[in-house]
Symmetry: C2
DNA sequence: AAATAAATTTAGACAAATCTAAAAATAATT
DNA sequence: AATTATTTTTAGATTTGTCTAAATTTATTT
């Protein structure tokens, strides 16, 4: 299926919103894509006519099987490029998203499969998100927000839900990265803040908001 | 200067045509880009208004200094990606052009400079064409068509003017590649065909047309 | 120097992707 | 159950890049 760059961006965004909500609605996609709701409706019509999604007017929409497959291809490209940019070109974690946002639209299957092999068929991207394989299969980590981690339990930082510059800055400050060993020492009920220990780093305290946006898996 | 993908394709094509002719004309660019002459005129107006070229109606056009600089940036990206695809991903010479045609439009300077460094700041692309450096400087080889090479003179194949599948097939058949050592043993005036010797390959005869499209430099 | 041919530009149309403002449908309150 | 608020869709424009067909300009022949 040949898709325009815009169509691809919409499909990928719908996929990402779908993870959280059953049905996606016009306004949330408009906010996510930073466009007007009218533009969303226009594109929904097109995607529906291309049989990529289920869409009942006024009642939200959702990718169908075909749409999902397409979304996973785009996400695969996006995350492989992010991996490349960090692992091979040594770019910073926070800068790679925007570049991958463009690279993901170059859609030669041979290119992507060779890139995949060249990178050693990586399973997770620099933000800790899983990279779909050639058949569109993703290995989901059993991760949870740091705030739900049991006290004194050893865990590994697996991903962060916000991947912008601000998050990066904070993580760098605390010396937290994807793969860091982490343990919660104390939790303050008042504001949800946590006292934590990162392996080979001094103890520190992070906010409840941070604790909600950092994901870990049990070790 | 922020340029659309189309504008970039036009600029790059004009640059490439300029190498051969003093002024570029509407029809040749239309043929080159496989579009209608009317579309060319439309785009020329836009590029002129963006002060990227000199254009006198009915009398042809030419990139100005700014246009040239932009063209060289696009060509740099194109050729670096081609180099990457062949050198790192092991793709074939004939397949990389179309992919680079898309990759070249991803225009993060940091990306390109890191890619350049990662590749070891290569000077020529897989087709033998020079890669402009960060400042837009190109090192031009003193090359000439094989048909103009003196008899029995040792030379190196430096580039080929046609880079499609057909050329690739023929070169592969004869065992000719960029960098091959070559010598002309005999020239047949009747049709311009040449008897040649490639280092470590059997002698063979190539057509006058081939001899015109394979470039070499003296050794 | 006309007449004819070739190249180029203009006029007008169209598809894609977006927008704003107005209308319509659905949801939430009183 | 009305009224009000929110969400979503439609109507109508706009920009970009393209096209065909007609008009215009330049080049080439006779
Ligand atoms: Mn994108
Ligand atoms: Mn990512
Ligand atoms: Mn291109
Ligand atoms: Mn090349």
């Amino acid at each position: 299926m040949k898709l325009s760059e815009s169509e691809e961006n919409y499909i990928k965004s719908i996929y990402n919103l779908q993870v959280k909500t059953e049905k996606v609605n016009t306004n949330s996609l408009a906010v996510f894509l930073n466009t007007s709701p009218a533009s969303i409706t226009d594109m929904l019509k097109k995607l529906k006519s291309k049989k990529l999604l289920e869409y009942k007017k006024y009642y939200g929409f959702r990718l169908n099987e075909t749409g999902n497959t397409e979304a996973l291809k785009i996400i695969r490209r996006h995350r492989l490029w992010e991996f490349f940019l960090v692992a091979k070109l040594g770019m910073e974690w926070e800068k790679v998203h925007d570049i991958a946002e463009e690279l993901e639209h170059v859609s030669s299957p041979e290119l992507i499969n060779r890139l995949d092999a060249y990178l050693g068929k990586p399973k997770i991207d620099p933000h800790g998100d899983p990279i779909p394989d050639e058949r569109g299969k993703v290995v989901l980590l059993k991760q949870k927000p740091l705030k739900d981690l049991a006290m004194k339990q050893n865990a590994i930082v697996s991903s962060v839900s916000s991947q912008g510059h601000e998050m990066m800055e904070m993580l760098n400050h605390y010396g937290i990265g994807i793969g860091s060993q982490i343990k919660v020492l104390k939790s303050f009920e008042f504001d949800g803040s946590l006292q934590i220990k990162i392996a080979r780093k001094p103890e520190c305290i992070i906010s409840g908001m941070a604790a909600q946006n950092i994901y870990v898996y049990d070790n």
